[in-house]
Structure formats: structure tokens, C-alpha cells
Symmetry: C2
Subunit: 393 residues, 2 copies
Amino acid sequence: MINFEFCSPTKFVFGRGAEVKVGALVKQFGGTKALVHFGGGSVKRTGVYDKVIAALWDAGVAFVELGGVQPNPREALVREGIALCRKEKVDFILAVGGGSVIDSAKAIAFGATYDGDFADHAFGKDTKVMTPVPSALPIGTVLTIAAAGSEGSCNSIISLGEEKLKRTITGDRLRPRFSILNPEFTFTLPPYQTACGLADIFAHVVERYFTPTGRVTVTDELCEAVMRTVVAESAAVMANPEDYEARANIMWAGTVAHNNVCGVGRAQDWSSHGIEHELSALYDCAHGAGLAVVMPAWMKYVKDAGLERFARFAERVWGVEKGDDLAAMADEGIARYTAWLKSIGLPTTFAELGAKGEDIPKLAANLHLNGKSLGAFRPLTETDVREILKLAL
Amino acid sequence: MINFEFCSPTKFVFGRGAEVKVGALVKQFGGTKALVHFGGGSVKRTGVYDKVIAALWDAGVAFVELGGVQPNPREALVREGIALCRKEKVDFILAVGGGSVIDSAKAIAFGATYDGDFADHAFGKDTKVMTPVPSALPIGTVLTIAAAGSEGSCNSIISLGEEKLKRTITGDRLRPRFSILNPEFTFTLPPYQTACGLADIFAHVVERYFTPTGRVTVTDELCEAVMRTVVAESAAVMANPEDYEARANIMWAGTVAHNNVCGVGRAQDWSSHGIEHELSALYDCAHGAGLAVVMPAWMKYVKDAGLERFARFAERVWGVEKGDDLAAMADEGIARYTAWLKSIGLPTTFAELGAKGEDIPKLAANLHLNGKSLGAFRPLTETDVREILKLAL
């Protein structure tokens, strides 16, 4: 087990009706005037937005509003939010939505307190090494999609510039002070978005589970626990979108999958996420759908770097019978993972996703590896990335 | 899944050499003058104490010292610590030791900021309902025993008065700001203390796992993950006390077992802890040893209230083959749990613990149930408690 630090200070308020506490929570964490940040019309259609606004009124919290966050959130709206916060002297950012809204809110929270350009802290935009953000306004979230884990994480991913390069801003100051998780708010998600969320949650654990380093029994077990939960509850939620228990288990699994309790004590991989971000940047596909295409291909390409780990994944997560032929076990595990993705209605090929084979060199180049490698389980070159994408055709 | 709040804000700094950061961490969390609180001679003999003191000097943190915490920490030393903090204008409490030292430090941290008597907040001392403490000095810990989970929890258990009644003080303000976990610091633990720690960690999960309420797939899975880890690593650590990986996995499992990520979303039981506290209060036995005696007896007594849960425990934690006879599975699971406790050298009967059958009425009466029931899986009367203790003879 390698040395680590772990700090997940977010206060999670979970369950039916939890949103009534939002005003009191904003005040508890020092907010007097909030920016309420949200996406398109769905939070208004479902009534979630009205409930949040009513709770803010009840608590006497002043606020301004900024909607319009798109999936794969953009730099331009972040800049608009930063300007609004400065003009209106906002001291708290409240995100009402899913991962894109929360990530946009985090970037605004940082940018509003930063003298320079917020994008300087996004790795790849300039020559600086990614460093934790030095400051941010306090952030709260009301989650409406179980997927990204951004409600408990320290990261924000924004599409920068006309190239729409997805880049990360990071730092413990971006961790939400509170997150309100009411599983009922996810009842109205279309099946495809629910499935994308399942794939994203599962992938957050896979990125941490496939590690080149040693004996971290407890973290391995926790990873498998979350992966099995996601798979076990997926059939119920796809069959009945209003199954509260399924929604609740998936929602909390989504948080646990990404607050890093499943990642401590070892190297993590994250190359599938890196590769996928270029897909969703270019095609504006859902992140979870992109992961469903990239991750099985990544597995096929890298499995020989650690067959024992893939065999364990097959046995513990997918119930593949233990045997002496680790390669066969690994293949069966990957096959069952792929079949599960298909069963919940996700694409697992370039063609199904609407991606184009001829873009592969560009997708790989957009990672800007510049001779560095991607990932840890098997460090990847740009050539490796192209080969993985070919496996996903 | 029932509604819950979860907030585990402690910054955990884990691994070899982590203690060098202690001075910087005290300063990061606002400390300028610390009370260094510790137990007997072991932290001095092992050199841990000197390392901590050197790190405080290096960071320029002023401090005063108070040693002498005994297992099952006492009210008198807490009062001494409170007086010392007031006299010396201490603004940070640093515990160097195991659960008893940390619990004593938490009580001091509360009492030093409280105008009234700290013991008023301990349930059972007066007629008040237990309420979260309203204030406390910030607390940091350097952990030397993997067991109690107090390094991440919001509770403190103190033996009050001449009767040595163990009572709980609680509240999120008692959660440590940081905890330093260096597994090497546990290398020198005697086998018996190591085993007591294993039993305690395991029991913290059992108290949460056996719940009367519904489908909490993710928390069930997390509980089983931690229990399996403890069992899997126990043989290695008992065979070689300096097995770093075993010590590290057990240490982190101990934290995860008790920061409540294994407990959210449902009722928890805690009756075995309640019963055991009276044993260790009366006989000054190790808490983990007392649990090894009480918990299997509790299981035998309550199993019929939820055979499915006991059968699942048997299958998932102890590898008992699934069958139609849930009662047989349950019995086999309890038998394997008991055998494991014996295998690591723990007592599982009153006689082995040095407890006396004639004290059973007194032990049950000391819980002061006053007609209320204990626990949630199967609520227990004072009569039930006596029957459980008889099963442990």
C-alpha cells in the first residue's frame, strides 16, 4: 500500500425531501448570496428547481441565477458565471443538476476568486503543471443525475476553446461543502441517461481498481463492492425508473465510487477517461456512452499487463468461475462487462456511438501526450491509444 | 434505504513517515499551542512519542503534555486535561495513542470549551437526552493501535465516576481534523492487543450490518468488504507482526469500519457494544476481548429475528455454502466467526475473560435501560441481556 492522503469533507444529505434543507445548508457554510447554476429545462420541468428556489426563499438566502449549462460544459458559460459572481458579489455557488452543472459551478467558484485566467489552471492550456486551485467560493450541490461523482470529488472538467479540449481543474477547495442527494430526483431520467450514469459510475471504480501496485486488500474489496452494487441494481432501475431503492443504491454508489475511498493506497489508471474525454469533446456524446465504447477496448489491449487482476475482476465482479487459465477468465470477464453495457442499452462500438474511424489519429493527437505516457496499469503511448480506438471500431 | 446525513471531514495522512507532517497539520487547522495527550510508556519506549515531539518542535508549535491515559479512559484525567487546557490557553488537542487516548482527548477538547460540566453530555449521567456537543477544541491524532476507529469517528467513550459507567459523548465537532496513520507504529503491539483490535474492527461493521431495515445493497457490500479484509489479513499479521501490508490494510479497514460509510442508510444495532462496555467497565478487560465474548452470544440469541441476514453473513463473509436451510447456514457462520476469534487468541467465554457469572444481573442492570430497549436488529430488554450473557458463560 503506497502512502496517501484522503479527505472527503463534503456533508452529504441523502434521501426523500432532503432539498428542503438547502437554504439552511448554504447559510451554515457561510453563504449569504448564492449563484444558482443549472442546465437546460429538465430541472424546471420536473419541479426540482422550484423546490430548491422555495427552500432558498424560506431560509432568506439571496440569489442570482445562471442556467444553460450544456453536457460537456463550456468555457464561455464559465466566464459568464465568473463575471456575474463578481458583479453581484456572490459568495456561494449552488449547482442544481448533474456532473456537467457541478463541474461548471466548480470552475466558476474558482475563477470568481482568482486574479488570473481560470483556464490557466486547466492542464494542457498552458505549459504549467496542473496544480491545485489556490482558492474557490464555497460550493453546494443538489444532484439530479447519479453518474459523475462530482458531488463529492475535487475535480472539474471543462471543454476549453473552439477545439473543445476537455481539461481538468483540480484541488480540495473544489470539493462541495454539501451535496443534497434525493434519489427521487432521478426518477425522470430517460433510460439512456440512466444507463450512461451506470457506465460512468462503474468506470470510476475500474480506473482505480486496475492498478500496477501491490496488496491493497481493503480497497480492492471496496471497489468490487461498488461494482457489484451497480450491476446488481442496474436491471431493477432499467425495468422500473421509479424504483426508489434501486435509484438510492445507485446514487450513493456513484458518490462512493468517486470520492476516492475506492482509490487510496495505490496508483490509479484513468487512461480510459483521458481517451474518452476526446471522444465526447469531438462528438458531444454522453461521457458514459463514450466510456462504454473505450473501456472494453482498453481492457482488451492492456489485459496481458496484469492477467491476475483481470481474472480477479472476472471472478469477483462477474461471477466467472475460477480456473487455471487466467487469460480465458480475463476474456470472459471483459465479455460479460461488454454484454452488461449492451444490456442497459449503451453503444460499445465507434459505429454505435456515431464516431468515425478516420478521426482516430486526431482523437489520439488531441491528448497532447508529447512523448509522455497515459495511465498506470499499462502506460500508453499515442500509438497505443490509436490501437485501442481501433479495437473499439 | 432510510434518509441519512454523512460527513467524514477528517484529513487522513496515511503511510510510512506520515508523522513528520504533524506540526504542519496542527498549524493548518489553527493550532498554536497544543496539548499532547498520551497513555503509558509504550509510545515513549517505541520512539513514536519522540518523533511526534520532534515534528512539533520543527514546525514551531508550542505544546504542553499530559500522559497517563488508561485503557477504558477515566473521568479524573479528563478533568485534569480540561483544567490544564484552560490554564495554559491550549487551542489544539493532539492525541498520540489508540482509542482510549483519542477518546480522552475528545472529552478534554469538549470540556475545555464548555461552561458546564462535560459529563452532563454523557448519556445516563443525568436525565438529559444525549445531544451533540455544541463546541470543542480542534483535535488531531497520531494513531498507534488499529482498533477503535476513534481517529475518524464523532464519539468518545469515558468511564464515569467510581462506578466506572462507560458513557458516550458525541457530536461532529469531536471528529478529528486530521489523523496520522503510520502502520509501522503498530508493529510493536503485543499479539493480544493486535487480536483485540481485529475483533473490535470486525464488531464495528457487525453492529452496522445487522439491521432490521431494507435494501441497502451498497452498504451491505461495503460492510462485507471490510469484514473479509479483516479476516483475510488477520492470519498474516498474527504470523508476522511486522508485515507492513497486513498492518496497513488492517489500519485503514479500522478507519473505514467506523467512520460510518459502512452504516449509512439504515438502522444500526450497537447492543453488543452496549453490553460489552459494562464488562470492560467492571473488569477492565480490553474492549475487543469483551466483544469477542459478547458478540457471538448476541448472535446466537438474536439470529431468529433475521435468519436471511445471518445466512448472508455466513456465505459472504465466511464462505459457507449456500443452501436452503438458513438456520444451519446461520449457525455455521456464527461457529466460524467464533473459531476465528479463538484462532487469533481471544477469549470467547466469561471464564476465559475472567468475568464472573454471578455478576450477570449487575452487568445487565448497569445498562440502566429503565424499561427502554437496547439495539435495533432485535430490541433487547434487561432480561434479554441477562440471557445473552448466560450464553457467553
